[in-house]
C-alpha cells in the first residue's frame, strides 16, 4: 500500500491472473494548508480502473478538500496528484481543461446553473466542447435524463427541483462528455433514505454498465458500504484506514471502530 500511510492501512488485494488494472487516480503524500491550518497531512491513495473508491469520514476531516485536488480546483501545498497518469499538480489551466473533460464532478449542492433550464444545464458541456447539431444535443440530453430517471423535466428551472432531483440532474450533466472518471462529493447528503438509495443504485449502475471509475466522498456509513469496492476512512486530514470494505470492518484502528459504531443496523462485511 502507500508509503506514507499509517500502520492501520490495509494492503490492496492482489489481482490473480492478467495484468493489474491501471491506476486512474494516484495521489502521493498530499498536503494542504490554509493560512497555517493543515487540512490534509500526507494523504496517499490509488484508485484503479472501474472501481468505486469511497472516502468516508466525519464532517470537516478534509474529504472534500481532497476531492477538489483530483480535478485541479485546489493546488497541493506539497505532494503529487496523477490522474490517468498525468501530473495534474504541474499543469497550467489550458492543460487542466483538457484533462477535466475526462472527469465528471457531482457537487454536494449539485451546483446546477440557476439561470439555465435542466436541459440547458445538461447540454452545457456538450455545447461548449462538442460540435453537435441542436437535434443531436437534444437527443443526448434526453438520453442522459432518461438514464437518471429525470425524463420530462427538460424545461424546468433548477429552483423547481427537489434536492434529490437536482443531484440526479447534476449526475446527468457530469456524464454528458462520457468521462471515464466521476468524482462525487457527498452525493446522498440531505436526501431521504429512499432517494439516497436511488442515487447509490445509479452510481453502481454506472460502474456496471459503463465501466466508470468513481471516487465518492461521504459521511454516510450506510452508503459507503453499499457502494465501495475500496474504502478509505479519513480523520483530521489523514487516512486512518484503507482497504476492502470487509477489511475496514475488522480493522482495529480505534477511530475507525468509533466511526463505524454509528453505522446502520444490518450492514454486513462484503
Amino acid at each position: 500500500m502507500t508509503a506514507t500511510a499509517p500502520s492501520s492501512v490495509l494492503p490492496a488485494p492482489s489481482d490473480a491472473g492478467g495484468p493489474p488494472p491501471a491506476d486512474v487516480v494516484d495521489v502521493r503524500d498530499l498536503w494542504k494548508e490554509f493560512g497555517g491550518v493543515t487540512v490534509l497531512a500526507g494523504v496517499s491513495l490509488r484508485v484503479r480502473e472501474r472501481q468505486i473508491q469511497v472516502i468516508m469520514g466525519p464532517s470537516g476531516c478534509g474529504k472534500s478538500v481532497f476531492l477538489k485536488h483530483l480535478v485541479g480546483l485546489l493546488t497541493p501545498s506539497r505532494g503529487e496528484v496523477f490522474i490517468f497518469g498525468q501530473p495534474l499538480h504541474t499543469m497550467d489551466e489550458d492543460a487542466l481543461d483538457g484533462l477535466r473533460m475526462r472527469i465528471g464532478v457531482v457537487f454536494q449542492s449539485a451546483a446546477l446553473f440557476d439561470s439555465l433550464t435542466v436541459a440547458q444545464n445538461v447540454a452545457f458541456p456538450l455545447r461548449r466542447h462538442r460540435r453537435l447539431s441542436d437535434a443531436a444535443v437534444a437527443a443526448r440530453v434526453r438520453e442522459l435524463l432518461d438514464m437518471v430517471e429525470m425524463e420530462g423535466t427538460e424545461h424546468l428551472m433548477p429552483s423547481a427541483l427537489s434536492g434529490g432531483m437536482r443531484k440526479r440532474v447534476g449526475i446527468a450533466r457530469a456524464l454528458a462528455l462520457d468521462p471515464p472518471l466521476i468524482l462525487y462529493d457527498e452525493p446522498t447528503s440531505g436526501l431521504d433514505p429512499l432517494t439516497a438509495r436511488t442515487v447509490d443504485d445509479l452510481i453502481l449502475r454506472l460502474r456496471d454498465t459503463l465501466g466508470v471509475t468513481s471516487v465518492v466522498v461521504t459521511h454516510s456509513v450506510d452508503s459507503a458500504f453499499r457502494l465501495a469496492d475500496r474504502l478509505a476512512v479519513m480523520d483530521a486530514g489523514r487516512l486512518a484506514a484503507s482497504g476492502a470494505p470487509g477489511e475496514i470492518l475488522t480493522c482495529g484502528h480505534p477511530f475507525v471502530q468509533r466511526f463505524l459504531d454509528t453505522r446502520a443496523v444490518g450492514v454486513s462485511p462484503r
Binding site: 480546483l73 464532478v105 449542492s109 451546483a111 452545457f124 458541456p125 461548449r128
Partner: protein
C-alpha cells in the same frame, strides 16, 4: 495566556495597519490578475458573443428608464441653479451653454455611472457571488470553462459599451429638462439653444463618453471581482454586493478627477 505571536498592546495598532495593508495589496493583486486574464481572452478573440449580448441587454437596455429619470432631473436641477444665478448677474444668455457643458463633461457620465453602479454593479456582484458560494463557479471550472472568459469578459465588454450609450441618453434628456426649466425661469428658447451650440463642442461630449467607457469598466470589474471572491453564504454575498457598490462609486469619483485633469 499571551501567545508568542500576539503583538504587545502598544504595537496592536501597527499590526492592524500592517494586516490591512497586506490585505489591500493581496486584493489589488488578485484584481490585477483577473483583469490581465480578461484582457488576454479579449486579445485572443475568444469572446462569448451570445453571453455578451445578454449582458448588453441587461446592463444597457434595461437601465435606460432609470438613466432617463436621473439624467432628466440632473439637467433640471443644474438649469434651475445656473439660470437663477446667471439671471441675477445679467448673464442669462449663457444658461444653455453652461447646462449643456456641465451635463456633457460631468453630470451625465458621473450620474449615469453612479446609477449604474447601484443597479448593474450590485447585480453583477450578487449574481456571481451567489454562483461562487453555491459552487457554480467551481462547476464552470470542472466543465473546462474559465469563469473569467464566461462570466467576467462579457460583463466587462457589455458595461464598457453600454455606459457611453446610456450617458448619451442622459445628455439629451438632461439638456431637454434644462431647456424646460430655463425657459420657465425667463430665458428664451432661441437664447438657450444658441448658447448651447456656441459653448458645447463635440470634444466635450466625446470626452464625457470616454469617461463613461472607463466608468463602465470600473463598475463591471469591481462587481465581478467582489462576486468571484465572495464566501460565507448569503452573508458573504450581501457583503460582496454592498462592497461592489461602495468601491465602484469611490473609484468613479476618484478616477473622474484624474481623468478631468487629462481631458479638460
Amino acid at each position: 495566556m499571551q501567545t508568542r505571536h500576539a503583538p504587545d498592546a502598544p504595537l496592536a495598532p501597527l499590526a492592524f495597519i500592517g494586516r490591512s495593508v497586506l490585505h489591500s495589496l493581496a486584493q489589488t493583486g488578485r484584481a490585477a490578475l483577473m483583469l490581465a486574464s480578461a484582457f488576454r481572452w479579449v486579445m485572443r478573440g475568444r469572446w462569448e458573443f451570445r453571453e455578451t449580448l445578454v449582458q448588453l441587454n441587461r446592463i444597457g437596455t434595461e437601465s435606460i428608464p432609470i438613466v432617463l429619470i436621473t439624467g432628466l432631473f440632473a439637467g433640471m436641477v443644474l438649469a434651475y441653479q445656473t439660470t437663477r444665478q446667471l439671471i441675477g448677474y445679467g448673464f442669462s444668455g449663457l444658461a444653455g451653454g453652461l447646462v449643456g457643458l456641465s451635463m456633457a463633461r460631468e453630470a451625465a457620465p458621473v450620474f449615469t455611472a453612479i446609477t449604474a453602479a447601484g443597479r448593474v454593479g450590485a447585480g453583477i456582484a450578487a449574481e456571481i457571488g451567489t454562483m461562487a458560494v453555491t459552487e457554480q463557479v467551481d462547476a464552470l471550472r470542472v466543465l473546462a470553462t474559465d469563469p473569467i472568459r464566461y462570466l467576467v469578459v462579457p460583463r466587462l465588454l457589455a458595461a464598457a459599451f453600454a455606459l457611453p450609450g446610456l450617458t448619451m441618453f442622459a445628455n439629451v434628456i438632461g439638456s431637454l429638462g434644462g431647456y424646460v426649466v430655463a425657459t420657465n425661469l425667463g430665458i428664451t428658447g432661441p437664447s438657450y439653444v444658441s448658447s448651447l451650440q456656441r459653448m458645447v463642442w463635440p470634444y466635450d461630449v466625446v470626452a464625457g463618453l470616454i469617461k463613461a467607457f472607463l466608468f463602465g469598466l470600473i463598475i463591471a470589474s469591481v462587481g465581478c471581482f467582489r462576486g468571484l471572491y465572495a464566501s460565507g453564504g448569503a452573508d458573504g454575498v450581501g457583503r460582496a454586493t454592498t462592497g461592489a457598490v461602495v468601491s465602484a462609486i469611490v473609484l468613479i469619483l476618484v478616477f473622474n478627477y484624474f481623468v478631468n485633469l487629462i481631458f479638460f
